[in-house]
Amino acid sequence: MMRGPPSVSRRLLVAVALPLLLFFVLTASAIDYVFRQQSTAALRDRLEEQVVALVTAVDLGFDGKLVVNLLDPESRLDVPGSGQYAALRDDTGKLLWSSPSLAGTDLVLGSKLPVGGVDFRYQLARDGSTIAEMSRGLQWAYGSGLSKKLVFTAADSTAPQMRELWVFRQRMAGWFGALDLVLLATMAWMMRRALAPVRRLEEEIAALESGAASQLGEGYPRELAGVTSGLNALLESERNRIVRYRDTLGNLAHSLKTPLAVIRASLGSAESDERRSEAAIQLEIDRIAQIVEHQLKRAAAGGGATFGQAPVPVLALLSDLRAALLKVHASKDLNIEIDAPPELGFLGDSGDILELLGNVVDNACKWCRSRVLVSARFDPDRGLPRRLSIVVEDDGPGIPQELRTRVIQRGVRADEHVPGHGLGLAMVRDTVTLYGGQFFIDASPALGGARVELRLPGR
């Protein structure tokens, strides 16, 4: 399998997991720091206590020498290398006493300190463990007015403390790791659920490709509904287009047969009057030209493909058309009024709407006495999606009832020769139908002539 860009769910998972991991590491470090601070403080307190104990244990012997009476017989100070040590020095730094536990450790405890001085330090023992030591310089009184300047030192191995720290760290890592896993698993599960419609879309498109389905299903969440309904519209319009092309070809071939047959008959006949057969052929050639023209237009109509098209501004289009028609009908004292809000847009091909309006408004200009009124609105009868209603009225003789029904009826082909008003109207009907719109012809109450209404998709 080709390695493409990572999948959406993987991206999301990574995007969530990385900050989560960072958060846990930072939190763990902070907790670890606090823990270490506290255990160091506890160590200092303990050493402080030991220094005090040492102070109380020191006494002046009969020989005037100092003796240390360790009260606790099980004190670790008596056990060599036990990890707990103590020492006593005078103010010149001379060692007066050290605990038996120091034997064989070559640790040097304590140093020269002035009275009131405090020293806390770490040193490394031979066995690799770290020793924390605390020294205090004190004025030690042993009788009224008699005192000595002494330095008391207590030391302790940090090994138990380190062990405690490691246990704590292991536990913390365990808990955080478990929490992390639970969170990620939950997230992955939620993502699977959230992306289920995408996966469904993928499957449905695969079904479309293989031909197992012709449309995408309903019920997609709002974020995807736009895509799926747009895709459905595109599929639908493509399918319609294919049907239309097939129909066009069929119609074309079919409708060309008759004039061709007439021409052949005229050429082959023993008609003595050459001019009459020439006239007949001329008539059929005109008919063929008309058929070709009509079918070309039909085939060119975009036909409802509203996918990826910006709405066509209707007012601007009408203004251009008006200027053009005023030129074409310059010999007439023509007055074309346009009544349309500027925000009105047609959803579809700009060539198609221009073709529709061109046919209808041009017809009105041809047949009117002097006035043509074009009004465009959003269709008030409908909710969403919005539709346009474009009404073209004139003050001409109007369209006879018989012609209205012929044009409106489906199945009447526009290339059948319909005189006058009907010429472009069947074509208009076909295009309106392609857009799923409606087309009405009646009499204009305002101007007295024809009234043609188009209802089309708009925005």
Binding site: E293, K297, D320, A324, K327, A330, S331
Partner: protein, 227 residues
């Protein structure tokens, strides 16, 4: 009247030339947009027929360009694809009317003469100045209601003068409009034709329809009136 035909399809160009010549126009031909622009701006054209799908310079651009260069004569467009999009764009570019292909020559002729009348300031197909009436459709001429028979050349001169009644038209302009490019300009055919026109329209020298302005040309000085 001198008409320019810009059309890339040779057969249509030749048919138009033959039909237009037969109808009394002098015809200039151009096969592409650039050639058309040259003719449209350099020759004294009265009306132009321009195909929209032209090589080198499209019909739309050709029309825009000749309008930009101040040419105001009528322009009739020929469209192969009879779509309103083309018509509206062509008319917006500066054309005055359109004919869709395939066309009947009668339609082209009707629209041409309508354009010529419109650019001359006439509203209908019948031109009337004082007692002289001229019907551009039937090419019939009458004075005080009595029909006057004119030759083709005489008719063309009268039509030109009447379409632009009130304006001074030079002799060379009349010559150019009667014949195509390579005419011998020194000939005094126009003087002869104008003389014959005067005798036919006004045998008794009562209405004096055509004024001669020495060194400047001719003017139809009768007042225009609705026919």
């Amino acid at each position: 009247m001198r008409v320019l035909v810009v059309e890339d399809e040779a057969s249509i160009r030749e048919v138009l030339k033959a039909d237009l010549s037969a109808a009394g126009y002098s015809v200039d031909l151009a096969a592409d947009g650039e050639e058309g622009l040259y003719a449209a701006t350099e020759y004294p054209i009265d009306v132009a027929i321009i195909d929209l799908g032209l090589p080198k310079l499209s019909g739309f651009d050709l029309i825009r360009e000749l309008r930009a260069r101040g040419k105001t004569y009528g322009v009739l467009i020929l469209t192969a694809r009879d779509r309103w999009q083309d018509k509206v764009e062509g008319l917006s570019a500066g054309a005055d009317d359109y004919v869709a292909k395939p066309f009947h020559f009668a339609e082209v002729q009707a629209r041409l003469s309508a354009l010529l009348r419109r650019t001359g300031g006439w509203a209908s197909a019948k031109l009337a100045c004082g007692p002289v009436e001229l019907d551009t459709r039937t090419q019939a001429v009458s004075v005080n209601g009595a029909t006057v028979e004119l030759t083709s050349f005489e008719y063309r001169i009268l039509e030109h003068l009447m379409l632009r009644a009130g304006e001074v038209i030079s002799k060379s302009e009349l010559t150019e409009r009667l014949y195509e490019q390579d005419f011998d300009r020194d000939s005094n055919v126009v003087e002869v034709l104008v003389g014959r026109l005067r005798r036919k329209l006004d045998p008794d020298e009562l209405i004096k329809p055509i004024e001669t302005l020495r060194g400047r040309g001719y003017r139809l000085s009768l007042p225009r009136r609705p026919a």
